[in-house]
Amino acid sequence: MIQRNNSYRLLPFKFTHIGNKELIVNEVGDYLFMPNGTVQRVISGSVNRNTEEYRDLLSKFIICDSYNDILQDVIATRIRTKKSFLDGFTSLHIFVLTLRCNQKCVYCQATSQNKDCVNKDMKIEDLNKAISLMLKSPNPHITMEFQGGESSLVPSLVEHAILETERQNKSVGKEIKYVICTNIIHFSEELLNLCEKYNVFVSTSLDGPESIHDSNRGVSGSYKHFVDSLLRIRERLGQDRISPLMTTSVLSLNYPIEIVDSYRQLSFHYIFLRPLNPYGRAKENEDWNLYFDKFLEFYKKSLDYILLLNKRGEFFVEGFTAMVMKKILTPFPIGFVDLQSPAGIINSVVVYNYDGYVYCSDESRMMAESGDFTFRLGKVSDKYEDIFYGKKAQALSRVWATEYIAGCSDCAFQQYCGADPVRNYSTQGDWYGHRPSSLFCKFHKAVFEYLFELIDRRGNEVLPIIRRWIYD
């Protein structure tokens, strides 16, 4: 037992070195940047009470003078708030209505099939059963997302799914948000009518200027179709009812500024810089270590440019940074399933696949395409309890939280990061994963370090901008 001359007490915290400083993070995500050697002085009890440092440590709940009940209550409230994304259980229900697609994206994670292929659409009976399962979720707020393949190839299935959900929900009464994920290459009037009538949000993808976009799609003329449909959708549904995701192909890595500008040209005020995922077609083609190193540089350049735009008075959000910074700067959780602990799988998201089976995540069903059914939770005809609380879900729960898996439990970034057993399995061969050799870990640590350096070096300049993004 260390004897402390100042008799203050320690609260749980973790720390790491960034540059020549120590980053100290407490149990609820409050952080302090301190000179090297601070942690040693804190734990040896030599922090002087008459200093701002002592006050900083008190204020960030890293030390206290007594373990009183009220302090515990306040911290308990903070933990409850941080974990409130668990309150309602599964909120995002993904329906893979078809695996067929009209594009040939170079990075396709979904192993999409030719648009004329047979037996790759969801059967009506399976769809109806999946909807019943979805409505059994205890969450009063449900997002029902139609994915593919290309969901616009099966407009009648989309329509049936919405009508059947509306019908079944009459006696259930949940609040349901519909999202259609589509490349909008051929977005028919019929689909527009449906989106208008049921307030369907259109989630699409835009990878950059015409040359990059078309090259990534593997089909020429894609960009032109995209822009045509975009204008039609905006005119009919409103400016904010369609939003794109950007996926960074190997080609994209060379064009950080051009990609951001392509979004601005089309009057978007938001971009989400997303790296490739090592699934599906993308899995085969990369030296992933090199890819992520380059992606990080791409991310930094884009972010820097976006921050400059904001400084010049243009409101433009980088979504990934906004998500991570929300975890760092606020007491609130985020809806981003990749960075949650307990993990997003089952707790926040579940996938009903065209094959009539239920999977833990988008990545899980993608693995199934290559014959690996590890993350299949059951059939849509199974009982809700057997799928969501079954043996497989129980086994996954033993490895799905950063609080208790090795390499995460003592990591300074634990509060900001997430666990991903599916990714561990697909890249490292087991659910538990090995953090020292994990790319997921390496990449996210690098992002956290970069953002904390940004806070430290340019906090007064960039934090007001980023706070506006978070609370937008």
Binding site: D30, R49, E52, Y54, R55, D56, L58, S59, D65, N68, I70, L71, D73, V74, T77, R78, L329, T330, P331, F332, N460, L463, P464, R467, R468, Y471
Partner: protein
């Protein structure tokens, strides 16, 4: 103080008691140890009875109004009965609300428009307790705030800027966004130099030139976090122009004054003015000429 409550006035005040559990080093209305709530009762009842029924604002203050037990609830009910459109601004140190039984009773009684103003002197207990002059006051206030917040009461946090906390205004703002994000408003307040503030002048007074940079940072943090933020009792000439939109005409007409040099100031109509009751003013007051 006013003799009759009228609509549109921010000077309709029920002074409940001089008792308080805190001994704030800058208190402008120093507390007494003996309970004088019955002494004030007759005048208060008369104010309510003779009030204009259209009155839209009544401030209940002290001392610490929650120390008067059922009397506080009696006042609240009478105010809402007589002036149904009235919003009550209850100024309290919040410590009573740390008690679950009190909060339960309060919730039952407080069934009208209410805005609870609670001072938070710091982001850490050490400074707060020194400023409040009472050990344990920080945690009790924090617990009280959480109890009120969970029940959805509208809360105003009041940060009076002093020598003891001016360096940490941005840190106080960050503490609020992390631990008290449910508050409806944060008010940063200049000092009224009277009472203990006059007695302890050299110990507590900090001229605005030393804190405006930190104040701007604090306001930026809160404003960007969608917490309404206001500046009270600091004249425009002491604030950078970026902070003018946050500055309120906060000082009641009856105790508001201006200096001779203010007469040709172009912002005089927007300005909060100065406390006529204050015994000292900033040395940096100057007319704004546009």
């Amino acid at each position: 103080m006013t003799d009759k409550f009228i609509k549109g006035s921010n000077n309709n005040i029920i002074y409940v008691t001089s008792c308080c559990t805190n001994r704030c080093i800058m208190c402008c209305q120093p507390p007494l140890d003996e309970d004088d709530s019955t002494y004030h009762y007759k005048r208060n009842i008369n104010l309510i009875d003779t009030a204009d029924p259209e009155t839209d604002y009544v401030c209940i203050t002290g001392g610490e109004p929650t120390l008067s037990g059922d009397l506080l609830f009696d006042y609240m009910h009478r105010i809402w009965d007589k002036m149904p459109n009235s919003s009550i601004h209850l100024l309290t140190n919040g410590r009573s609300f740390a008690n679950a039984n009190y909060v339960e009773k309060f919730t039952k009684e407080a069934n009208g428009k209410l805005f609870v103003g609670i001072p938070l002197h710091s982001d850490n207990y050490a400074d707060h307790d020194v400023i409040a002059g009472a050990k344990g006051s920080f945690y009790a206030t924090l617990k009280g705030l959480h109890n009120l917040g969970i029940l959805g009461f509208e809360i105003e946090l009041r940060v009076i800027i002093l020598k003891q906390n001016y360096k940490r205004l941005d840190k106080i703002a960050e503490f609020i966004t992390r631990n008290l994000p449910f508050v409806a408003q944060v008010s940063f307040m200049g000092l009224e130099v009277i009472g203990y503030a006059e007695k302890n002048y050299s110990k507590v007074w900090m001229d605005s030139e030393c804190f405006t940079i930190n104040l701007a940072r604090a306001i930026d943090i809160l404003d960007n976090s969608h917490i309404q933020t206001r500046i009270f009792n600091i004249p425009h000439c002491l604030l950078p122009t970026a902070l003018w939109p946050f500055a309120c005409k906060s000082i009641s007409e009856w105790k508001k004054t201006n200096l001779g040099i203010c007469s040709n100031c172009s912002m005089i109509d927007e300005c909060c003015g100065l406390f006529s009751t204050s015994k000292r003013y900033s040395a940096n007051l100057k007319p704004i000429i546009r």
